[in-house]
Symmetry: C2
Amino acid sequence: MHATARAHTNIALIKYWGKKDDQLKLPCNSSLSMTLDAFYTETKLTILDADQPNRFYLNGQEQSLKASQRVVNYLRVLQERFNLSGNFLIESTNHVPTSAGLASSASAFAALAASFNAAYELNVDLTELSRIARLGSGSATRSVYGGFVEWQAGDSDENSIALPLAEHPKMDLTLLAVEIETAKKSISSTKGMNLVVETSPYYATWVEQAELNIGQMKMAIAANDFSAVGHLAQQNALAMHALNLTADPGFTYFQPETIRAMQLVAELNQNGVECYFTMDAGPNVKILTQLKNVEEIIQRFKNDLPHVKIVKATFGPGIEILDK
Amino acid sequence: MHATARAHTNIALIKYWGKKDDQLKLPCNSSLSMTLDAFYTETKLTILDADQPNRFYLNGQEQSLKASQRVVNYLRVLQERFNLSGNFLIESTNHVPTSAGLASSASAFAALAASFNAAYELNVDLTELSRIARLGSGSATRSVYGGFVEWQAGDSDENSIALPLAEHPKMDLTLLAVEIETAKKSISSTKGMNLVVETSPYYATWVEQAELNIGQMKMAIAANDFSAVGHLAQQNALAMHALNLTADPGFTYFQPETIRAMQLVAELNQNGVECYFTMDAGPNVKILTQLKNVEEIIQRFKNDLPHVKIVKATFGPGIEILDK
């Protein structure tokens, strides 16, 4: 019994920031993302007899018991859900270069969920797949589909699910992942969002605003309005990073070069090169732009910040089963 | 008829950010400041006959009609209020070095208000002086008194006034003004706060929180609790800068080195050197610390950011009449 699945990572244009249930990973607000073609995880899951030990290989390297724990625990949760047994051989390859500054947990847990479903021949539908991906990592919920995807917050395991908004959008939209820094470990997204939920007096407004933003973003997508998508994504990202400043104690993912990148985006726009930025729980900046502007933006960043790496992406597909 | 007055500038520990009346400069929230000994303006005001032209000298340089307009207009507002006449010779000296990164309008308009009161022998009390200073510049309201000062927001000209909280505080509190940048002109404080009031969905929470912060800060001052004063000041400053990110379009006064300075403050605290930061409508950072830590902090900043200038200050006095 084995199966191999591929899942692409995604970038949230309306961010997930704050959980109302740690176990079920129920978010306080809905989020909306773009699945990315350039970054993905391929995972082969083989079900072993219960007397064989669990083994986890990541990029060809066998992982320690400790490093395997989150993945094995996750698969145990899924086994409980479906009343299944067996141990695991997990072979994952991450095509999410560190230099992209994108979290690989979205693609990793979506690929695990999909390979689990296929290996045990459960034949769950994509909605249920988005639920079980969520149990591994919140953002994995959205990686079940390609294109633009909404993760409806819901208030239970049943209704906290992903929905495809447009699997193959016609929008001319390119993402440039600008690597500011890979070394320094900052506060994890889980720790950051929990601190915000617990201490920021501004959090309730964030939740309200995020729900409004979802509606606005859907309208912008339906109207194929790149400018509105970019502007909304930038405003929402800034609000998320503003929230972090209002936690107690306040904190930030900004690095000095994050500010420089934000200034470069402003300067490019002043020079007629339309682009927007978004940022997750780290210092790296992701530029949203259109094809005609890609080369000029890359050149401008390479001039001003010569050591940064830039990786280009556009819409990617949802979950794929490669082998069974 | 002439008089010379001296007023010191102040740093808000709980910030004024947003007006509910542009003309009367009534703020949306109360603020609380520390008057600073190191930075002040001295202004000699001479009342001239109405047939003599207005003249304004700043640091010994005669100013153009255009550059004099705000000051002359302000004195006209005061003349109307008290039914007075005459033209003006204004001779101001600003001892607020640009390198300190502190606005000189607080000390400038407080000194103008005081010299006006003295030159015309109006003998208004300090409460009325804080009202008329407010008409020149909001933050000038607080420069009427020394030490810790509260500016009660109020809802009319009558009750939007400064009150001294502690004219000669016993607190061991030093401010280090770290100059990040003097050249680049960013969005003015008036423009910034107006954009926030008009567009940020988070503004109502700011107003509520600022009023809470005022109460907390008064308790911390009464308890002579430096740590609480510093922590509250830093949290309040971060919230103000967070608000700016949530305006539409979002903006920031942060420069790359602002982030570096914030990181240095975090690192100093991790090494047992207690200090906090605050920031106004610009990239410069002001460190709040105690005497025993001043030299170590200055050294640390000079090592990491060799080109910055650092100016030291502590509590300064309220308005003084030097000559009549």
